[in-house]
Each structure stands twice: as C-alpha cells, then as structure tokens.
C-alpha cells in the first residue's frame, strides 16, 4: 500500500495546485505549502515561509547580550531553554567564561526538561494531525507539569529567559529538585501509556511506516539534524560530539532509526524522551552546591572575534554565530535554525506521496514557524 514511487503525471491528468496554509489546521502555524496535486498524489510541494518573520537577527544587533536572551525565547517558542542555552553558550565561549558546575547542571536539567516538553508537544500535534485526538491532551497534561517546574524556577512558563551569560539568574527554589525528581520518575510510565496507544496500532503504522522516507545520504545532503537525521540512522548528537555544559559527565544513548521513515522518527523521539529522563535523573543526583553565576562584568563586552556555538535543540542542531566588534551589542548574531533547514527537505520527502502523507511529514519534521521565520 505504500509502494508509491514518484510517478510521471498521466497523459490525461489534470494537475491542480492547492495552497496548504498559511491558515490551515495542520501546518503548525503559518507555514504555507504550495502543493501540486495529481488527484491525491503530490507532484510537487513548495514551502512558502516568512509569514512570521520578525527580524530577530536585526533586533539582536541593537540588544545587549543579556537583552537578546528574551528574543531567543520567541524563536522556537516550544523550546525556550535550549535556545537560551545556545546563546549564552556562544557568548561564554567568545568571552572565555567558565560556568560554575551547579549552573551548568541546572542548565542541563532545564534543557532536558525542555526537550521532553518539546517532544510532548510534537507527539500531541503529530498524532492529532494523523487523526488521533486524545494523545494531544495526554501529552499536554505532562507538559503542564514541566511548565509548572519552570514557573517555579524562573517565573515564566513558556518564554523562560532562564539563563544569563555566565550562569543563571536564580538558584533553584527549595524542594524544586524533589518535585523535578518526582516528575521524571513518573514520566516513563506516561510514555509507556502513549506508546500503548500508538506504537503497535496498525492504523498508526500504516500512516507512518514508509512515509516521508529519507536516506542517510540524502539527509546529510539536505542538512537535516536532530531526530530527522537520527531517524535515518546517522548517530549524531551535538551533546555527544561537542559536549557542552557537562554532557560528557552523564550517560545517555543516542537512539537511531534504520529506515528513515516517519515511524522511525517517532520511535527515535520517544526514546529521546526516555534518555532525557535519564539525563535529568543523573543531573539531579550529581547536582553540586556552589554559586550559579560566574564572575562576569555587569556590561558584557566580549572581545573582537567570531564564534559559532551549537547545542542539540529538540528539533536539531541549534547554532549561534556571534560576531563581536568589542561592543556591548553583538555586531552580528546569526542563528542556525534547525527547523528552517529541516523544512527544506520537505519537497524531497513528500514527492510522489499522498496529501495525507504531507501532513504526516510536516508533523514528523517537528517544525516551529517561530524559528523558521525568526
């Protein structure tokens, strides 16, 4: 049923062009895909983006380095902590700041919780796109618990602004670690619950196995990172390759898929959530005492130079390219948006498949338009 090799349009076919989005329930925001259809079969798809462009990179140029952090929250608004982590990591790199270990561990906890939160959103919306409604609510209930932890730590739930150059603005509150541990200890049971609903489900498998296949070579060629790359079988994770913070001191596996289809990416992300739970548990066990802020000047003026620093965001490699001219604002602060680059492979992945597969592939790429358009 899935042997849908790309076909030439039949001689008497009438291709029609449909504009999917920007107002469409399943395009995860304001993505617009111009789809050329032959019946239900996709002849060509062309993503049109930019509806959410806010000129974030231009805004960065007139912000102080710490003032730029709230703007990063708004790029991938489902993963604010990893965005913050990337930016402060880049600035610390260019300044040569060493972060106190407690701050680094808390950052890792926040980032891994954020990865779980982002993946729960992905699972909910992906399942909703494919037609299963209930996982959306189950996953969001778990996400709420993470957001509650964030709210207790930094006072915000979504746009955290939880990190500063040199460390963290606050220490953890009393009892936070206990609540966090309680959450991560019960979370694997929730994942198992969702998997009972989906993993073996024959309809879910029909809809995802063999859909949106991308081989490892072509995934590298298209610059995919994160779960889409790992789903194709490339064992690559920034946390392992270029460990930042203290990722080299915790144990975790990089789950990889084999066939590079939507089902494999689904399995990879489910396993990533479990690995994140593992990391959080280890971090909580290792969490040292001490300050959470390194000795950095009040006005951050990095030396002249340029640095590219990337973190493993939930969606893929999230890179920050900081060019400093020695001033208090970045001369240029470029973001390597993982979703933007992952989305580029969409036409490749859906060509020759059906309209319903387009939705599945958009879901499996886990795009956030805030990051694509910036």
């Amino acid at each position: 049923m899935t042997n849908l090799e790309p076909t030439k349009p039949l001689p008497d076919s009438e291709e029609m062009e449909i504009s999917f989005g920007p107002q469409h329930p399943a395009t995860h925001g304001v993505l617009r895909v111009m789809v050329k259809l032959d019946g239900e079969r996709i002849v060509d798809a062309r993503p049109v983006i930019g509806y959410l462009h806010r000129g974030t990179e231009k805004i960065f140029e007139r912000e102080t380095y710490n003032g730029a952090i709230p703007h990063t929250d708004r790029m991938d608004y489902t993963a604010a902590a990893t965005n913050n982590q990337g930016l402060v990591g880049a600035v610390e790199r260019i300044m040569g700041v060493t972060v106190p270990p407690r701050a680094a561990y808390i950052r890792m906890i926040l980032a891994e919780l954020q990865r779980i939160a982002s993946h729960t959103i992905w699972l909910g919306t992906h399942a909703l796109d494919i037609g299963a409604q209930s996982p959306f609510f189950y996953t969001f209930q778990e996400r709420e618990k993470i957001l509650d932890l964030y709210e207790e730590y930094c006072g915000a739930r979504l746009t955290l602004n939880a990190m500063r150059v040199g460390g963290l603005p606050y220490d953890l509150t009393d009892g936070w670690t206990g609540r966090c541990r309680a959450f991560v200890d019960q979370f694997p049971a929730r994942i198992a619950e969702w998997e009972r609903l989906l993993t073996a489900n024959r309809i879910w498998k029909l809809r995802t196995v063999g859909v949106g296949v991308i081989s490892a070579e072509s995934a590298i060629e298209w610059g995919l990172t994160g779960p889409p790359l790992r789903g194709s079988g490339v064992k690559w994770d920034i946390r392992k390759v270029f460990p930042y913070d203290h990722y080299n001191e915790v144990e975790f596996e990089i789950p990889i898929g084999t066939s590079g289809d939507t089902y494999d990416r689904y399995l990879v992300r489910m396993e990533e959530m479990r690995q994140s739970v593992r990391i959080v548990q280890q971090c909580l066990a290792k969490l040292p005492d001490g300050p959470v802020m390194a000795k950095v000047p009040k006005v951050i003026k990095p030396p002249k130079g340029e640095v590219y620093f990337s973190v493993e965001g939930p969606k893929g490699e999230l890179g920050y390219y900081v060019v400093s001219d020695g001033g208090a604002s970045p001369y240029r602060l470029h973001v390597r948006p993982s979703c933007f680059i992952n989305l580029q492979a969409l036409p490749e992945m859906v060509r020759g498949q059906l309209v319903a597969d387009l939705i599945a592939v958009i879901g499996t790429l886990d795009i956030v338009l805030g990051e694509i358009d910036r």
């Binding site: 102080t64 003032g67 207790e152 730590y153 930094c154 006072g155 746009t159 509150t173 989906l198 024959r202």
Partner: protein
Amino acid sequence: MSFWGFLASVVPFELAQGLGVTGRFFFKRKATIQYPEVKPVPKDRFRGMFGFSEERCIVCHSCAKACPIAIIHIQDHFEEVEVEGKKRKKKVLDRYDIDVKRCMFCGLCEEACPTKPVAIWLTTKSYETAAYERNERLYFTKERLQSWDGVRPYPGVVPPSQGQLPEDPTGGSGEAKP
C-alpha cells in the same frame, strides 16, 4: 509466520489495547481548572503585573536600559532637597511609564534594579491584565503603576498602593501597611 503472529495481524488486539487506554482515562480525574471561579495559583517567582515604588526608585535608569524592547520611559529632573540640614541635589521622577501591552515579562528590569528592596518587581502573581482598550488601559504611568488602577490583583495580593513588598509577593494580607 507463527500462529500467534498471524492471529495478532488479523485480530486487532492492539486497537483494543488503545481503546483500553482511552477507556481508563475516561474515569480518571479531569485536569480542567474552571478558570473564572477557580484560579490557577502562580508560583512565588511568577512574573505577573508590575509593582512599582516611587519612594525606593533612585532614578538610575537601569531598568530602562536593561529592557530589551525599550518600553520603560523615564524622565527626571534635579530638585534641591534638605537632608539632615545639608542641601543636596536629588533626582526626582517626572515620568515613569511602562508600555505593558508590549511587555514580554522577561524580568530583566527587576534584575537590573540596584535598590534593595527593588523598586520595580514582577512577582505580584497578578496576571489578569487583559483590557479592551490596549492603548489606554495597558499603558501605565507611574501613578497607575502604584495605584494599580484597572488591574485586578490576584486574590490575597495587596496592590502596591497598599504597601506590597517584593519580598512578600502575596502581600501578607494580614499585615499590609495602610
């Protein structure tokens, strides 16, 4: 294919399993919070509506500089005041406006504030700032910032005009200053 494998491929056991999951959730406790009647309780660090104290403010403009989107507008002038018999110049606020409708509640202004206790803070738990006229109702002058005219404080929170302290975001309803 083994018999059981064949059976599992014909009879949709796993679909029944899925039905079991949703069926169990049918009887679980519901997560809904009946909002206007029951209000979610913000945590102590929750960034809500601004509190501002003109007495504590030393007019250093740190908050305005720290604000990433420049929505804090400060104007001041010098005034001669007599402190312990000596005449000294003191900065006095003319204008301290926050354009709350554009605020993204990042809390950088509170962090930048050098006074102890801080003169501007967001830990007031009050989040019901919605208004029909955003240009008028969500633009806060220093008087409105202190009187909280038009802001509904979170139950138990004492508005800044009645002496709420940033260390005590709940307002400590009992011991509030007059």
